[in-house]
């Protein structure tokens, strides 16, 4: 086994696979107020297996930056309450997960909404707000 250089750096970066799912509490919050705190709480969140969190030195409530060629967001980490083998993390489908999705569809028109690869690192920043996700597109 090689030396884990990452652990000597301040905020090691790992590669992570993310898939999206639907959550009725988030859907309820969306119907009520898509700009509200409840919708953000359920959306700006990455659910991970205990194994992966230990491996990456993360705890529930930590904030992480997720970044790839298409965008980046800061979200909160939560440990999955389910029996997850690890290797894949989960986000409820939302503008936060969509920030990491490519619009390149091979001409077919269906983006890879559920098949995201990103770099993950622990950060102290606040979670990305919908306002700041929108910011650059205001006319």
């Amino acid at each position: 086994m090689g030396i884990d250089v990452g652990k000597y750096l301040k905020s090691p970066e790992y590669e992570i696979k993310i898939t999206t799912y639907r959550d009725i509490f988030q859907a309820e919050a969306l119907e009520c107020d898509r700009f509200g705190a409840e919708y953000m709480k359920h959306s700006a969140c990455l659910v991970m297996s205990k194994n992966d969190m230990v491996k990456m030195g993360l705890k529930t409530g930590n904030r992480v930056k997720l970044a790839n060629n298409y965008g980046s967001v800061v979200v909160e980490v939560r440990e999955s309450k389910r029996d997850e083998p690890g290797g894949i993390a989960f986000m409820v489908n939302s503008p936060w997960s969509n920030a990491l999705v490519s619009d390149e569809t091979g001409g077919k028109g269906i983006p890879e909404f559920k098949n995201i690869t990103a770099r993950i690192s622990l950060v102290k920043d606040e979670a990305t707000t919908l306002e700041s996700l929108m910011g650059s597109f205001r006319k």
Partner: protein, 402 residues
Amino acid sequence: MVTCPGCALLCDDIEVVVENNRIKETRNTCRRGAARMKGCVNRLAPSVAQKPDDIENAIKKAAAILQNAKSPMLFGWSNSTCEAQLEGIQLAKKMSAIMDDTSSFCQGLLIERILQKKFRTCTLDDIRNKADVLVYWGSDAQDSQPRHLSRFSYFPRGELRQRGYEEDRIAIAIDVRESNTAKICKGHFYRIPPKGDREFILALMDALSGKVPAYEPKKMLELAAILKKAEFGAIFVGLGLTYSIKDDFDILIPLADKLPNFNIMPMVGHYNMRGFNEALFKETGFVNRVKFDGKAIHDSRYSIVEALRKSIDALLVVGSDPLSSLPRSVIPHLANIPVICIDPCVTLTSKIAAVTIPCAVSGVETGGSTVRMDGKRVELSKCIESNYLNDKEILARLMEAL
């Protein structure tokens, strides 16, 4: 009893308590349906160029934008009544516009094949009365169509299934994640890796043909044995499966052929997506992604994602929030063209729109027809009075103004 417009199950057993012309309480809805029927906190107001205006001016300005565009696109439609959808199709024809709906990046691939009769399908009522083996594949109905299991599939005591889930029904989940639906399918949850559905289908076909599959042979043979014994089975195809096999979708056809007692059911989210797909199919032979140019031309260039990247110079959005639901990397294109937004609520898209036109909430402030996920036509009721025009009326006014 009224109908809930919260998802494509269109539950028609809802009671509402109205007080001061507001829905104070709903009975029999799930959380999502209750929230939809009680309404959003941010109602949309008419605006032009990001400034408040009146509805007449907003409609006039919208017509001018569409008229000046060389290549306008009309998008959304899955949260609109059938009447509004038909009006929209006429508008698209009149303007030689591109037209697409959310099925373009959702269940369009499946609905198209169902309308082309490439799959055996049935109604949700057949499932409630007869189904004994239920396969939720890439579908977390519990969170997406929350009353699916309780009204139609797993828990009810149907005509031929009087002993319900305790003895008469087997529920199976095939998914990447142990979803809430998978948790209910105790002992019959097949976890697959992301994009693992194709391999799973091939292995299952081997197992059904009596061959030893290369992938998880023991589990696949066990699953094949359950499926073969089914008297009336249903495969609920969720977005997880559709996205995973989108490049080779027809692989599902030989699997369905090997399961003669099974029906395929598209798990549709938005309440009238299927209505739009059926209406456009009837008009053009295609369920989405068309350009009207004398005749209807169908091409993936006319999908919302590809069209935004390339060809359109104005976008009318009806009852949808592409800024929220599309990849963020496509949004700069969207922000560069004039957008007209018709919606009951403020959305991310309405916030960048050149023109916003508020409409009544279908199923609450206005009635209309819809098509359930299984193709059954269901009527929406008007529960409260409102001064808002409905989306059909707005589209008709737009048509007149052109």
